[in-house]
């Protein structure tokens, strides 16, 4: 009856999202009066995540490279063996890749994009999840004995726990994956849209790719990831991987700064899950002003350079 949570690792260490996932699993287990168990693959320090009753640690060289079928099979077996009722997974590209596969392998319903602990509706356990790309919520209940919960990033927050967790090693078979990884390229040392606490995003108001140094500099000061509106990536000013919105990447950061973006409904849908939104736009009628928490009406080309300087001073003072 326990709650199993899969905590992703990268380079043998926990990914940033592990704390929030473990916190959610611990609370869910608490609500159900049961135990929370972590599942960790190839991690050198599995014990450092607190708040769980136990951590199952799997180590195998064959799992150094991620491929989905291999990981999904292994996690499904662990789900089965643990006897858990719930499996909690995250919302990274790798975890979303696993959801459907594990659901099929374990014959359990998969409820993605969950943003809260379950509530009781007429005796049924219902999980609130976003639908229509943040334009609505559904309360969804599993019809299967076991169920996979895909937790949306930044929806629950992390509960600090100073106690470490008890670790047990488990040996599980690794299958051959029909898909093989040939090469991988990642942007090193830069915050990604998926992981960053702050995202600085710009639109067509920036006039051309030659002006993006402003956006990058602002992002650098804040340790933020850079993003853009759809037309900006369609025009080739920025790579597709930066396109955010309903048809691009979803954004759920603490702070989203939109510069020269009008705030079209498709753009807003994709970024709405962010906690605080700031808009800088020279058109006071731009729809983004209706969706943001803070705003400045004015020219990006005069405001952004000042903002960079003032933030540098602020950072120096608060370092």
């Amino acid at each position: 009856m326990s709650v199993l949570v899969y905590l992703e690792s990268e380079n043998k260490a926990y990914k940033k999202t592990a704390n929030e996932l473990a916190s959610y699993a611990a609370e869910l287990a608490n609500q159900l009066n049961t135990e929370a168990i972590g599942l960790v693959i190839n991690n050198d320090q599995p014990e450092i995540i607190g708040g769980l009753n136990q951590i199952i640690s799997v180590n195998n060289e064959a799992l150094d490279t991620y491929t989905a079928e291999k990981f999904a099979s292994l996690i499904s077996v662990a789900f089965e063996k643990s006897g858990a009722q719930y499996l909690v997974i995250g919302s990274s590209a790798d975890s979303k890749y696993l959801g459907g596969l594990i659901s099929a392998k374990s014959s359990s319903g998969y409820i993605p994009n969950v943003i809260a602990l379950p509530e009781n509706i007429d005796g049924k356990t219902a999980f609130k999840r976003t639908v229509f790309t943040n334009k609505g919520y559904a309360l969804t209940t599993p019809k299967t004995k076991r169920c996979i919960i895909g937790l949306s990033k930044n929806s629950f927050g992390s509960v600090r726990s100073d106690s470490g967790s008890r670790v047990e090693s488990m040996i599980l078979d690794v299958i051959d994956d029909p898909v093989s990884l040939i090469s991988k390229s990642t942007v090193n040392g830069k915050a990604t849209i998926a992981d960053a606490d702050i995202v600085v995003s710009a639109g067509r108001g920036l006039k051309g790719p030659e002006n993006w140094h402003l956006i990058e500099e602002l992002a650098d000061v804040l340790g933020a990831a850079t993003a853009c509106s759809k037309p900006v990536s369609d025009l080739g000013w920025r790579p597709h991987s930066e396109h955010v919105g309903q048809t691009g990447k979803p954004v759920a950061t603490n702070l989203y700064i939109a510069i020269g973006i009008s705030g079209a409904i498709q753009h807003l849908a994709g970024i709405n899950a962010s906690k605080i939104k700031v808009v800088i736009n020279n058109d006071p009628e731009a729809p983004f002003f209706k969706a943001a928490d803070y705003g400045i009406v004015g020219d990006a080309f005069t405001i952004v350079p000042q903002l960079i300087e003032k933030l540098k001073a602020f950072k120096a003072e608060n370092a």
Binding site: T67, Y97, A104, I121, G136, L139, T247, D293
Partner: protein, 248 residues
């Protein structure tokens, strides 16, 4: 190569989303339906395989008769044949299960789904199909080439990309990048005319099993008012973000 593109009918991206008064379902009143954007990238790539490598392209949609206009549009874009699986798509499992039943009878080499549909954002259909049909699976696919039995694909990951290789049969989860936005096809008059006579078969699914149930729906709370800061007073913005919003 025989390709199936799975297409879902979703509200036009400009739609305001409303739910029925009892909060039990999505209110389709006044909503225009379109081909799910992720599926459209997949369809365009499938038509490219047809034009460049002689592939045969089928489409399938799980839905009631109201989805047929978008299926005709997919035929006008270049698919050869359409299958409508006649039931209301209640959850991702039902969709994947009924599509898998069809895939097993038609023996496709390549199945292209969108990585997710923009209505219920389930992001599970391609993975479920891959498992049901025992196909390889590549998600968030931003490029795909097929040479004989070998497929090479790029997958978008958080903060980068991967190149992957596998053998057909294969399911991919398509998204933007698989083809360029500018290569998306708008059906021309000839396409629209010929789509009218292309076969559209209706299939009755043998199982309507679901694994989850949506009990009710809600709209997000309306947002509070914005705090505007004068452009001459940028310090105030930093102060607010630091002290009030606590995000700096």
């Amino acid at each position: 190569m025989k390709i199936l593109v799975c297409i879902s009918a979703v509200p036009d991206t400009t739609s305001k989303i409303n739910f029925t008064a009892d909060q039990k379902s999505f209110d389709t009143g006044g909503v225009q339906f379109v081909i799910n954007p992720n599926d459209e990238f997949g369809l365009t790539r499938a038509v490219w395989f047809k034009e460049q490598q002689g592939a045969e392209v089928h489409i399938a949609t799980v839905g009631e008769a109201s989805v047929e206009p978008i299926m005709r549009k997919a035929l006008a874009i270049g698919a050869d044949k359409a299958f409508r699986i006649n039931t209301h798509p209640l959850d991702g499992f039902l969709v994947a299960n009924t599509l898998s039943e069809h895939i097993k009878t038609e023996h496709y080499d390549l199945v292209i789904c969108g990585r997710e549909s923009i209505d219920y954002n389930g992001n599970m259909v391609p993975g479920l199909i891959a498992n049901h049909c025992n196909f390889a699976f590549i998600n968030t696919c931003t490029s795909l080439t097929v040479d004989g039995n070998k497929a090479t694909a790029t997958r978008e990951i958080d903060g980068g990309s991967e190149t992957l290789e596998t053998q057909l049969p294969l399911v991919v989860g398509a998204q933007k990048g698989l083809v360029e936005e500018s290569d998306l096809k708008i059906p021309n008059m000839r396409g629209i005319m010929s789509a009218r006579t292309k076969p559209l078969e209706i299939i009755t699914p043998s199982s309507l099993e679901t694994l989850t149930e949506d009990l009710s729906f809600e709209k997000p709370d309306s947002k509070g008012a914005i705090t505007l800061v004068d452009e001459a007073n940028i310090d105030q913005l930093i102060e607010l973000l630091h002290k009030e919003a606590k995000v700096l």
